[in-house]
Amino acid sequence: MNEVTKIDGIGSSVRRTEDKKFLTGKGKYTDDINRPGQVQAYFLRSDVAHAKIKKIDIKNAQSAPGVIGVFTGDDIAADKVGGPICGWVVPCRDGSATKEPPHPLLAQGKVRFVGDAIAVVLAETAEQAKSGAELIDVDYEELSPVVDFENAGDGAQIHDEVPNNCYFDWELGDEKATADALSGAKKIVKLRVRNNRLVPNAMEPRCALAEFDNLDDSYTLHTTSQNPHLTRLVLAAFMFAIPESKLRVIAPDVGGGFGSKIYVYIEEAVCVWASKKVGRPVKWTADRTQAFLTDCHGRDHVNDVQLGLDENNKIVGLRVDTVCNLGAYLSAFSVVVPTYLHGTLLSGQYDIPAIYTNVKGMATNTVNVDAYRGAGRPEATYLLERTMETAAREVGMDPAEFRRINFIPKDAFPYQTQVALQYDIGDYEPHLDKAMEMIDYSNFEKRRAEAAKRGMYRGIGISSYIEACGLAPSAVVGALGGRVGLWESASVRVNPTGTISVFTGSHSHGQGHATTFAQIVADKLGIPMENVEVVHGDTDKTPFGMGSYGSRSLASGGSAISKAVDKIINKSKKIAAHLLEASEDDIDFKDGKFVVGGTDKEKAFGEIALAAYVPHNYPLETLEPGLEENAFYDPTNFVYPSGTHIAEVEVDPATGVVQVVDWAACDDFGNLVNPMIVEGQVHGGIAQGIGQALLEDAHYDENGQLLTASYMDYCMPRADDLPSFKVGYTTTPSTVNDLGVKGCGEAGAIASPPALINAVIDALSPLGVTDMSMPATPQKVWKAIQDSQSVAAE
């Protein structure tokens, strides 16, 4: 590598090029954009969880000050606009299909959760729209709400199309082989765990600004999306039945997503529809309460686990029976999250000869549940790593050693799991060893004893996780019920002076693509990074692409860019051969120069670019002018990041407060493009996992009212709830893509909850505490301590 690439190529912690606009208040988020003549939308939402709508009276609202229009589900239905669709379905055990009830944009005859939209009011100002909505009179016939998802089958039927409120009942693995393995096991460890319900809480609330141009019958939608092309496809093809070319979707700066901004929400579609209806741009911005009520939530599982061990404490079989809550309607990826993104991960890092899982997806009168950072993989990791820790305790082994003897050995890759996935490569002991070293595992008992002197209970907890990301091989996706391909696209345009514009189908909402992607291009072409511009987020500018989620941007989007650059280099070699009067086979590309091997004849990359656009001396008879290439990259397998996180906590028995005192994360993400950005992703993921384990819980009461609908009630992690983190790496480059990269966005959120809960249980183990549910709030921990003491006193 030449000096330039050493500074800012692959592997360098280059400072982010996108920072300055955000640091100076010049970012452009959707709510920062306004259009002349725009009206504001406000959605009247159901305040009951389950009811028939007998009558909606909009008369008074229509004549309210500033109100331009009031519309209900009947108006949408009259224009035959469809609702959001489910992007992935699975077959049921009985051979039937996933039940897919309709999801009207505005309620049609029934409301199914608190927050379900009933009407939209458009007015000159947001305040007038809200005041107008208050004048709408809705007459409900209340029905019995279904909130407890474990018993939802016995509740009132929410959709005619979904008998027993069960969307699907799915299985994976060999049930008989697993039953045989468990019946022959020397010991069976049983555990029931709950994965608590979370609200993603990207700091930027959702927002949409739609406008209609009646000169060419086209729409433009600015929206808070992680995947503007998917939004365009769903809106145009499935909801409005208009050509994609008549809808431009722009996702400008987006203030975090974490999965919650993948899907097309009803508000976006209603704004698009209404912009034509009233002939003015329509803007809607969620306030935080609406975000809590209507953004898709995450997790919400109960898992019954049985793990069988032989006489050597080796795992012989695993059975997991899961019931999960999918809410009132089937959101886009709600079905795949608890099935193929969850059941397929149940082998973890372990050599498990027999696995079977059954998952039931239930409908309830709560908002939809879909992907949230990790999406299925945190749930799999949580149940498995809690069970591993419990098993180690029950057989009296050190939890680290118990994991070690059950790891898939290094020489067993590629490793075919019993739950469909084939891990291409991995090496698990090194990250366990390194994490133990980072946290000084061997001296932990001294620290526990020292803490005890201060009256504190200190504990340590391990989590060794694996995830499948870099979604995804399209053929596999299709075979498993996915309705989309999951390749990624890139277009690399070399400008006449040799600068580069990269157009990517990925979308950055905090991940730093403008920097990371530019590093890849700069490194491969041997040019300065500042000569590379990355364009994303606008369907009029970028090639059709699948967007960012599932830790796929680098593995899939970065690989597409890398492939497009390879094509640029290949074409450039042809041009160089012509200019240098040499054979193409003799041209080497190195350090940004095309050199005739063994000579000093060379052309710089910029000279090739100029020749391509000013083709006066150019092989026009065999080669087109210009230098711009597209690539669509479809991976051949998932990529499999893995790692070990170890948490150390202190519990104050007087208050039940759990303090995270140390954290070691050692991850194998394959090759790193920008270690600084990777580390930031790990930090953020761990914080969300600690949030899940200690603080966060979305709670509906028995009437289906969301009790945690503000930051007063839903406890987000604050700076003083968290420690600083020790982050380290091991490296087995992925064999799936040329860059050797895996994915790092979700790992922290996947790894951390079981590490933390295992540490809390370890801290309280001297008291006989063996279980703790998430979130381990002070009240819950304090009660566990009190209960253990009263047991001891009896």
């Binding site: 955000f22 100076t24 306030d287 935080r288 987000m716 992690p717």
Partner: protein, 157 residues
């Protein structure tokens, strides 16, 4: 309705606004400076923090009318032309931001904290940021940024 005049980033701004207009709406909607963000409706998230007469204030929590005649600095007014404020520079150097949405409030809170306490400790930083929520960074790099910013602003820690 009523006329409100205040100094915003050194410039006198006068607008005729409804009496119940929040300061943050005055800044965003009426003056058009959109760097100050709104992330919640309960004064918890801190994305809207500005400086009012040198004190950090959540602009969603006071009426524009209460700021009549005040001297207000928003994130747009922090840098000196093209030269970033040392705290902005520190956030850049230490990867103290990801999606950028909470960043204006974080930086404004950090500047005030450090102005009051140049030798600020890590615990004091974490406690001081209690009113600013970030969902991306896990705060680790924000804390590092504030420490580095404090050093650039003359602190000894």
């Amino acid at each position: 309705m009523g006329e409100i005049s205040l100094k915003l980033n050194g410039k006198l701004e006068t607008r005729d606004v409804a009496d119940n207009t929040l300061l943050v709406d005055f800044i965003r909607e009426h003056v058009g400076l959109t760097g100050t963000h709104v992330g919640c409706d309960t004064s918890q998230c801190g994305a809207c923090v500005i400086h009012l007469d040198g004190v950090s204030v959540k602009a969603c929590t006071i009426l524009a009318k209460q700021a009549e005649g005040a001297d207000i600095t928003t994130i747009e007014g922090l840098a000196d032309g093209d030269e970033l404020h040392p705290m902005q520079e520190a956030f850049h150097e230490n990867h103290g931001l990801q999606c950028g949405f909470c960043t204006p409030g974080m930086v404004m809170s950090a500047v005030e904290m450090v102005t009051k306490n140049k030798d600020i400790s890590e615990d004091e930083i974490r406690e001081g940021l209690e009113g600013n929520i970030c969902r991306c960074t896990g705060y680790h790099n924000i804390v590092q940024s504030v420490k580095a910013g404090a050093a650039k602003m003359g602190g000894k820690n």
